[in-house]
């Protein structure tokens, strides 16, 4: 077995036992990146020297007997999270040369826990996309089939984890951007409750939906990363001031007596039959483990997509107004102030970002606000109500993460609606502000991974991790590695 294939908890055991060094581990992962990333293209920026420096420091710390939770563990960061002194592009030309003077809180917490930062992973521009094809620089390729997308927008992080180019990674999830690429790449992806992880330093797409999440090779690793990054941050007024449990204590393997809801609205005509079959089989597996399977209804599911595509672009249209060429980032000097704005933003933003800025600007305009933005917020409340009622009956809700497995690069780029539909099962959760995790639950005929989504109530991370872990222990999907 190669060192780069280790899970975080396996690597930690070996590091603690002194059987491997952090430098060996980090070097192995860097070598792996150098070997495969020309094909996968998971990284926008690599920081191998700094990573080895951190690994050496970790080895010194080990010798001194320090026991930080992620000491010497090489991780990747989605390029939408600010990293002090390291370019943070957001997958956009407009921030191509932007070097933040500060770390995102989630990144700072990883560093404080001893993690080694390998670099910044590719993303759809400003996290707007479901395939990583909207990156201004290049698309990332799915390690299971290089002709296919890794999902998005955290496609770089998902592909890097799947391909052994890091042991785990941070992503962000505004409408499914952690869970959907995790499903496409056959790994675990956890989207925490809104406010559970600080958004400080996460470059905003849609402020009321954005949340930092983790991408890992198994459920235990996800719990370990959550232990480090979760918690209140005075710099983020929307972060929750609730105690952080030890998430690894949820990993008991015992789900007897738990009630699992299956939403009838999530099994729709047009979805890939193999996906439905795999998720149905997984539900049977959960029943075999002693859980009770209950059909539930989330009646406003159909509205999630239109509601999301009003609220998210509306917030984005304001969040992206700061990219004006005045203080940082791309600046194209025009003949006038107006012209400078138009040149800078016209050349700095890609087509999908422009589309969403226009959508959002329209939705917030005088005369349309009530009909679009305000109405969408009301329906959002109804969607949240659906989940509140469901969680009165069941502990978690289980559904497919995406209606299909990974599609081909270029297959949906011409049709934004088809692309948006790829997130149809993940958007509701962000609108409701609750948590969910993707776990691998099978493969289709082409050998592409299928993901199952386990959704829990606000601050229900312990519950979803418990179900995910029990399922994972009863199956071996998570042990399969892509052919690359």
């Amino acid at each position: 077995m190669h060192l780069y294939e280790l899970t975080i908890h396996e690597a930690r055991a070996l590091l603690n036992a002194g059987e491997i060094s952090a430098v060996e581990l980090t070097q192995a992962v860097i070598d792996r990146i150098l070997a495969v990333d020309n094909a996968v293209r998971a990284y926008i920026t690599l920081t191998p020297e700094a990573a080895l420096e951190q690994a050496r420091a970790a080895d010194t710390a080990f010798r001194q007997g320090q026991a930080l939770p992620l000491l010497g563990i090489p991780l990747a960061i989605k390029d939408i999270l600010c990293t002090a002194g390291i370019p943070t592009t957001c997958g956009s030309r407009i921030l191509e040369n932007f070097v933040p003077p500060y770390d995102a809180t989630a990144v700072a917490r990883l560093k404080a826990a001893g993690a080694v930062i390998l670099g910044k992973t590719n993303t759809d521009e400003f996290a707007m996309g479901s395939s990583t094809e909207n990156s201004a620089f290049f698309p990332t390729h799915n390690p299971w089939d290089l002709e296919r997308v890794p999902g998005g927008s955290s496609g770089g992080s998902a592909a890097a984890v799947a391909a052994g180019e890091c042991l785990g990674a941070l992503g962000t999830d505004t409408g499914g951007s952690v869970r959907q690429p995790a499903a496409f790449c056959g790994i675990v992806g956890l989207k925490p409750t809104y406010g559970r992880v600080s958004r400080y330093g996460l470059i905003a797409f849609a402020s009321s939906l954005d949340q930092v999440g983790v991408l890992t090779r198994d459920v235990t690793d996800a719990a370990m990363l959550m232990n480090v990054i979760a918690g209140h941050d005075p710099k983020d007024s929307t972060s929750l001031d609730a105690p952080v449990p030890d998430y690894t204590t949820a990993l008991t393997g015992d789900i007897r007596g738990m009630r699992i809801g299956v939403p009838r609205e999530y099994f729709i005509p047009g979805m890939q039959p193999e996906v439905e079959a795999a998720v149905r089989a997984a539900l049977q597996r959960l029943a075999d483990l002693g859980a009770e399977i209950v059909e539930v209804s989330l009646p406003h599911t159909d509205y999630a997509l239109p509601v999301y595509y009003l609220i998210a672009p509306a917030e984005a249209s304001a969040n992206l107004a700061r990219y004006d060429g005045v203080r940082y980032g791309l600046r194209m000097v025009g003949n006038s102030l107006e012209d400078t704005y138009q040149q800078t933003r016209g050349q700095g933003f890609g087509p999908e970002v422009k589309r969403r800025i226009m959508l959002g600007t329209y939705a917030l305009s005088a005369g349309y606000y009530d009909a679009y933005y305000l109405k969408a917020q009301k329906v959002r409340t109804l969607i949240k109500g659906d989940f509140d009622r469901a969680f009165e009956q069941v502990d978690v809700v289980v559904a497919p993460t995406s209606p299909t497995t990974a599609f081909r690069i270029g297959e949906k780029t011409e049709d934004p609606i088809q692309m948006y539909l790829s997130d149809v099962f993940t958007l509701s959760l962000n609108l409701a502000g609750i948590c969910g995790i993707n776990v691998p639950c099978g493969f289709d005929a082409q050998g592409l991974p299928i993901g199952m989504q386990i959704m829990g109530p606000a601050l229900g991370e312990m519950t979803v991790l418990r179900v995910a872990y029990a399922y994972e222990q009863a199956t071996d999907w998570h042990t399969r590695r892509p052919p690359i």
């Binding site: 995102a104 330093g201 304001a318 700061r322 005045v326 203080r327």
Partner: protein, 486 residues
């Protein structure tokens, strides 16, 4: 036809908290010589990924302003994003309030020539200031020191009818803001800015005509002149059969005229929506009650009390109350001594104000405590020194910080009230100036004043003038009788 003006006012007041509205950068008063972009951070320059955190003190001061202006305060208030592009606005939106601001439906009573008038307050809300642009040659530079400084905006209903009323309202409002400690009230440092909406209509009508909004008025004088100009200008337009269009105007201070900035049909759409980075602001009733408790006595109430309690005239009370520090000083001085409050008021408004004017210092910066002033007045009242000596002693106190008693003793300034000693001096002076005495006896009575001066001079100014006046009168009368009997 007779016209009347309909005027509403928006006032922006900087809030001088220690830190800015949404970050930890210090709030600096604009002294004109701060290094540019020295008081900035990633948050107030809108670096990607940064988030705002509400300054609780700014909210408290806004709530106190709302309470002082008799506003309703909702149990939950929201911040909103106001979107527009301008280089002094780092985020491309301003965090402001829109719907459920911190204060609503209040009023401020003012005195006008026509009697008292109630100016209704539509709302009091909290927002952040922008940066400042400097046009240098053909480039524009931006300074973000001011970006993110908390601003209270106070919006009236169109309840004022003349430029005088607008000025009165603005001055009374400034007084309140200073009393609450919102800011220094120092207009030259731009801590208050005005925006007036002016329209006119036939007197007695209740229509609201299209209005001119005059932006960026930074002094009471500019406010008064711009409003007065607009009223006269609009009446003239109407009288000539013209129409007033809804417009945004600028004010040309040099030429004393307003000018069109833009027509309202191109009005900006600010696309307000609730700020998702800030949770709703819950204003607990206990917190509000505590703030109400902490409200100082406001200028209007204090003015009335000064008249009632200390027997001051309204204009004396005005002079003292206009500055909270002066009013506080006055009350401390009254309490420190046993002298008549009216006398204390006189000393402060005449002599201390003169000293403050000459030294350019505020009353709290003077080395003369209220107790020290009360002691000085006590010496004058007791006749130990006379009024003129008292003034000299005050000047000395301001320079040296010594007590009045110490100065009087060191300089031997205590006045002579001993009648026997003074009578001798009076007799001597009359002997020495027979010509003037003769003039007096011939009926030129004003010479008495000159003789009085000679006596004072002979005592080095230390004579008790009242005693001297009596003695001199007696001596001259007896000479008159003698002359008459001859």
């Amino acid at each position: 036809m007779e016209y009347e003006a309909v005027i509403g006012l928006e006032v922006h007041a900087q809030v001088h908290t220690r830190s800015k509205m949404f970050c930890a950068c210090p709030v600096m008063e604009d002294t004109g010589d701060l290094p540019p972009n020295a008081y900035v951070c990633p948050v107030c320059t809108a670096m990607p990924g940064t988030l705002p955190v509400i300054n609780r003190r700014a909210v408290e001061l806004t709530l106190m302003t709302a309470l002082a202006l008799n506003c309703e305060v909702p149990p939950v208030s929201f911040f909103a994003r106001k979107s527009y592009f301008y280089p002094d606005l780092p985020k491309g939106y301003q965090i402001s309030q829109h719907g459920l601001p911190l204060g609503m439906n209040g009023y401020l009573d003012i005195q006008t020539e026509a009697g008292p008038r109630r100016v209704r307050i539509n709302n009091v809300h909290l927002e952040e200031d922008t940066g400042k642009l400097y046009h240098v040659g053909n480039v524009t530079l931006v300074d973000f020191n001011r970006a993110g400084v908390p601003l209270i905006e106070i919006v009236t209903e169109p309840d004022m009818r003349s430029a005088e009323e607008v000025r009165e309202y603005a001055e009374r409002l400034r007084e309140i803001l200073v009393y609450l400690g919102v800011n220094s009230g120092d207009m030259e440092k731009g801590v208050m800015r005005f925006e007036a909406s002016v329209s006119v209509r036939p007197k007695g009508s209740d229509v609201l005509n299209p209005r001119h909004e005059i932006k960026n008025l930074n002094s009471f004088r500019a406010l008064y002149r711009a409003v007065a100009y607009e009223i006269a200008h609009q009446i003239e337009v109407l009288q000539n059969g013209g129409r007033v269009l809804q417009q945004t105007m600028g004010w040309d201070e040099g030429r004393g005229v307003t000018y069109v900035q833009r027509r309202k049909e191109y009005a900006e759409d600010y696309r307000y929506f609730p700020e998702p980075d800030l949770p709703p602001l819950e204003i607990g009733r206990e917190w509000l009650a505590e703030l109400r408790e902490r409200l100082p006595e406001l200028p209007a109430a204090r003015r009335a009390r000064f008249v009632r309690e200390y027997g001051l005239s309204v204009s004396e009370a005005d002079l003292l109350v206009a500055d909270r520090a002066v009013a506080d000083y006055y009350e401390m001085a009254v309490r420190a001594g046993t002298v008549n409050p009216k006398t204390v008021a006189n000393w402060i408004t005449v002599d201390l104000f003169r000293v403050m004017r000459e030294s350019g210092k505020g009353i709290r910066e003077l080395p003369v405590s209220p107790q020290a002033l009360a002691d000085l007045i006590g010496l004058v009242e007791a006749g130990t020194i006379n009024m003129n000596t008292g003034r000299e002693v005050l000047d000395e106190m301001v320079v040296t910080g010594k007590s009045a008693r110490q100065i009087v003793e060191e300089k031997g300034l205590a006045q002579i009230s001993d009648e026997a000693a003074l009578r001798a001096i009076v007799e001597r002076v009359l002997e020495e100036h027979p010509a003037q005495v003769a003039q007096y006896l011939a009926g030129k009575e004003q010479v008495a004043g000159w003789l009085m001066g000679q006596v004072m001079r002979a005592t080095g100014g230390k004579a008790n003038p009242q005693v001297v006046r009596t003695l001199l009168g007696e001596a001259l009368s007896s000479r008159k009788r003698e002359a008459g009997s001859r």
